[in-house]
């Protein structure tokens, strides 16, 4: 203190409010550092936005499809040569038999309407989707009275012409493309201006099964949605009770010993095992060893169950731990057994947390692809799987082949026709909507039942 008295007070050369070089350097560095942080958060959010925009931009058009409507004459001599409406005989007319019917009606209608075009019958017919004859055939077989009538139907146009209206195909690319000609596009444009060719919302994208590589316009998600649904049922039925049971044991009953320790280490390890390893497990155990059907939702569900269990167990244990000990003690004090205190008091209070964890686990399982590829879910499936398989040698429940939403996306990306990229993005939109709904339910559950002790 004495020193301070002796030293003459240093006269400030400048105001304290004006920063010296060193301070302003430090302040700049402070600002820079803060900007790095903001930039990092910004990049993260920007990436999310770009990702969503890219998927939406590519995929929204999959929900719309281009159709042509014209009066279709279902001529008797071609579709039912004997004229006796016998379903057996009518079924003998194959899809190929329906193609000329569609083509001739189209040609006749164009002529009657006086619409100019410079195409032969074959080129004209190629405008229609290859799926269209099959659809009309199914319609006629379901309702034989249609034969001989002239009906107004909306008929699917080919994938390239559909692409033209969505901007994927242009006149320039059409010149180089063997699958579509400029003449076809010109006619389609004329018809669109007249209102006979329309692009409208396409429910069939959600309900139809997958289609072969040559007709993207008819490919749908029906089988994939059903397959995903079955797998989710299997996961829910198995993973929820097993996960809750395991958590209850570990959290409430387990003594601290080697076995418990082993189980705990195992669970945290399983949560971090790469998903493809579960696929290898499923392939080796369920398909090669137990000989379940390849690509059945049952096997997929089992694999996803094993994958989801650690997530559910970890979430359930956290929410059991959050129930205060006083609840347990009160129950025990009134004479309940340990088991009764857990099942009657702790578990109901922990239920919202458990359900939230389960839904998050299910959402993870729903988006998983790699393990399902290994158990053969990538197969091309046209038939809707039955809930109970008809083959008595296989495990009956859900033993039929199916596919799943993310796997369907993958198999569409592997096809050469670029129109399938649109379908894949569209399928992802459906998948994301499902995930959004599940997460919304989880958040609602948490909000609704959140309680503080």
């Amino acid at each position: 203190m004495t020193d301070a008295v002796n030293t003459p007070a240093a006269t400030p050369e400048r105001s304290l409010f004006a920063a010296d070089a060193r301070t302003s350097r430090r302040n700049r560095s402070e600002k820079r550092f803060r900007a790095y942080g903001m930039a990092a958060v910004g990049i993260g959010i920007l990436a999310l936005i770009v990702l969503l925009i890219s998927i939406l931009g590519n995929g929204l058009s999959a929900f719309k499809q281009t159709y042509i409507s014209y009066p279709l004459e279902l001529t008797e001599e071609r579709l039912d040569p004997d004229g006796n409406r016998d379903p057996g005989e009518m079924a003998r007319v194959t899809t190929f038999g329906y193609l000329p019917v569609l083509a001739m009606s189209l040609e006749a209608w164009l002529e009657a309407e006086g619409i100019e075009h410079e195409m032969g019958g074959r080129e004209l017919a190629a405008m229609l989707s290859e799926e269209a004859p099959a659809q009309i055939r199914a319609m006629v077989l379901a309702n034989p009275d249609l034969i001989g009538q002239t009906i107004d139907v909306q008929i699917l146009l080919g994938g390239r012409i559909d692409g033209f209206f969505k901007g994927r195909v242009t006149m320039e690319t059409a010149e180089r493309d063997r699958n579509v000609s400029v003449n076809q596009l010109l006619l389609a444009q004329t018809l669109a201006e007249r209102g006979d060719v329309v692009t409208r919302f396409n429910w069939d994208f959600i309900t139809w099964p997958d289609a072969s590589g040559s007709r993207p316009e008819a490919a749908g998600l029906g089988v994939a949605i059903i397959g995903s649904l079955y797998m989710m049922i299997v996961v829910l039925v198995l993973a929820l009770p097993i996960g809750v049971a395991a958590s209850i044991y570990l959290e409430e009953f387990a003594p601290t010993n080697r076995l418990t320790d082993l189980i705990e280490v195992n669970i945290s390890n399983l949560a971090a095992v790469p998903s493809i390893v579960y696929g290898i497990l499923g392939l080796a155990v369920f398909i090669n060893f137990m000989e379940f059907n390849q690509s059945s939702p049952l096997v997929g569900g089992l694999v996803l169950t094993l994958m989801t269990l650690p997530t559910i167990i970890i979430a359930t244990r956290a929410s059991l731990r959050a129930v205060p000990p006083s609840i347990r003690q009160a129950a025990l004090g009134l004479g309940a057994s340990k088991m009764q205190s857990v099942f009657h008091h702790v578990l109901p209070l922990a239920m919202p947390g458990i359900l939230t964890g389960t839904i998050i686990g299910l959402a993870q399982a729903l988006g998983e692809t790699a393990p399902l590829l290994l158990i053969g879910m990538v197969a091309f499936v046209r038939e809707y799987p039955d809930l109970v398989s008809s083959h008595s040698n296989s495990f009956p429940l859900m033993g039929d082949g199916a596919t799943a939403l993310p796997v369907q996306v993958y198999s569409w990306t592997q096809r050469s026709d670029p129109a399938f990229v649109e379908r894949a993005s569209g399928a992802i939109i459906v998948l994301l909507i499902f995930l959004l709904i599940m997460n919304a339910i989880a958040i609602l559950l948490r909000r609704r039942f959140e309680r503080r002790w």
Binding site: A47, I55, A254, N269, A272, I280, V285
Partner: protein, 484 residues
């Protein structure tokens, strides 16, 4: 299957009602005289009825196909097996024919006795089955037909015995438990013991899964190394599988691709994730944080196939058009860069969430001490908080690295399938996981090294990620104990 389970469940319900009724009756209708609540007597009978029956049913379902398979394989004439190069394929044929017959019987094409007496001189079997939609690979030979007939007989016998045993067990359990029910029985204790047993069984499933993973991969890896020398696998510099034989299956190019892509992914994810965590923990106001944190965490909840498609249709072509081609580094839209950057975006929340927690766990007193000495916020962060949080952050990055190594779909769609040792990040490369998928999808024959190599790859991947996970968990855990 469903009806068996529902019959057992029905018996269980019956047992519940009977047991409860008998207990109440034995107390003369006065519930207070019972040792336990009436429900427990019912549950006791239900458990004894259902649990043994369902257990035996499950075990039987697993074992029966194996036993039948072995029996039928053993009964195939040895000289017939010697003619074909692959006994496993013969059995596939047999099983396909047998299930074909099942379908045929169901559709009314044959009756069961007809199938049993079918004869291979009747060449039309294949056509007839094709008529109802069952496709057979080749014409049916005498041996296969006989084996398929035997297969069906054994399957029917097995099924019958299974029903007999399972129902007998259920009824016996019901009867035994019912007869033992009286008012002094300690029903609650035995029910609680049984439930505890079920709980323990559920939690040991984690161990079973791990054992299953390791065993399934070890078994086939062993088969692989019997066909292919391990030195060539671990040290081979070429990956050229060919299904005509003479494949070169070297691990090194795949491992290189895996490490390269993971490295780039971490180069993206680690700084962005870390800075995002620092900003959100130290700078952001409550409102910003409550919006930004969940938004970034959404990135972790998006399925990887979505990132894969994003890499394929957006990032890949963009990198090719704006970087690779102008720089003359190649014109492939699937590249190490594409997969690495997209994977890095996926990993941002893994790094940021964990780091955020860890930065928040650094005690306020350390910050206050630093501010008291006149340090700015960024100086405090750089010189006090980060060193204190460093082990935890390293753990978070290691966890992200193990995610990156095990990631499949982004690489499948973003990085291509060419196995090569190259430094150019704009070239297509491939990883261990892609090759696992590649070797195991499609029609694979599980006795060839080309398919079995996938299991060796899987085991390698499992071991690498396991080591990383363990190190990461140990690091994170150790650090956390310091301030607790």
């Amino acid at each position: 299957m469903l009806w068996i389970l529902s019959v057992i469940a029905g018996l269980g319900l019956l047992g519940f009602l009977l047991g409860r009724g008998r207990a109440v009756a034995s107390a003369g209708g006065d519930v207070r005289l019972l040792h336990s609540l009436p429900t427990y007597y019912g549950l006791n009978v239900t458990l004894l009825t259902m649990v043994p029956a369902v257990l035996v049913l499950g075990i039987w379902l697993i074992i029966q196909p194996i036993v039948i398979n072995n029996a039928v394989t053993a009964s195939l004439p040895a000289d017939y097996l010697a003619q074909t190069d692959n006994p496993a394929l013969v059995m596939t044929e047999v099983r396909r024919l047998a299930s074909g017959f099942d379908v045929a019987v169901e559709r009314g094409l044959f009756t069961n006795p007809e199938v049993a007496t079918l004869d291979v001189t009747d060449d039309t079997i294949r056509d007839q089955l094709a008529g109802i939609g069952v496709a057979l690979g080749a014409d049916v030979s005498t041996e296969v037909l006989a084996a398929a007939q035997q297969f069906r007989v054994l399957a029917v016998t097995g099924r019958t015995w299974m029903l007999v045993v399972v129902f007998a067990l259920a009824v016996a359990g019901l009867g035994y438990a019912f007869l033992r029910t009286n008012k002094d029985q300690r029903a609650r204790n035995s029910v609680e013991r049984a439930i505890l047993g079920i709980l323990i069984a559920a939690s040991t499933l984690a161990i079973l899964t791990t054992v299953g993973i390791v065993l399934s991969m070890l078994w086939d890896t062993r088969n692989f190394f019997q066909l292919y020398p391990w030195q060539d696998f671990f040290f081979g510099l070429e990956w050229r599988p060919s299904f005509e034989g003479g494949s070169e299956l070297g691990l090194i190019p795949l491992l290189w691709g895996t490490m390269y892509i993971s490295f780039i992914a971490l180069l993206v994810a680690a700084p962005i994730g870390l800075f995002a965590a620092i900003y959100m923990a130290e700078y952001a106001s409550g409102r910003v944080r409550s919006v930004a944190k969940p938004l970034i965490e959404v990135l972790a909840g998006i399925p990887t196939i979505v990132y894969g498609l994003f890499a394929l249709i957006t990032v890949g072509p963009m990198l090719r058009d704006y970087f690779a081609q102008p720089l003359g580094l190649g014109d492939s839209s699937s590249s190490v860069m594409t997969a690495g950057i997209v994977m890095g975006i996926m990993l941002i929340p893994f790094v940021s969430s964990l780091s955020d927690d860890i930065i928040n766990a650094v005690p306020q007193s350390l910050r206050d001490g630093s501010y008291g000495l006149g340090a700015t916020r960024s100086e405090t962060i750089k010189q006090v908080i980060l060193p204190a949080a460093l082990p935890g952050i390293v753990g978070a990055v290691l966890l992200a690295a193990s995610r990156a190594i095990g990631e499949t779909m982004i690489v499948v769609l973003g990085a291509g399938a060419a196995a090569r040792l190259d430094l150019n990040p704009f070239e297509a490369m491939t990883t261990v996981t892609v090759k696992i998928v590649g070797q195991l999808t499609g029609d694979t024959d599980f006795s060839s090294p080309e398919a079995l190599v996938a299991f060796a790859l899987g085991l390698t991947l499992f071991v690498i990620t396991l080591c990383l996970n363990i190190v990461a968990l140990v690091v994170v855990r150790k650090y956390r104990e310091q301030y607790d």
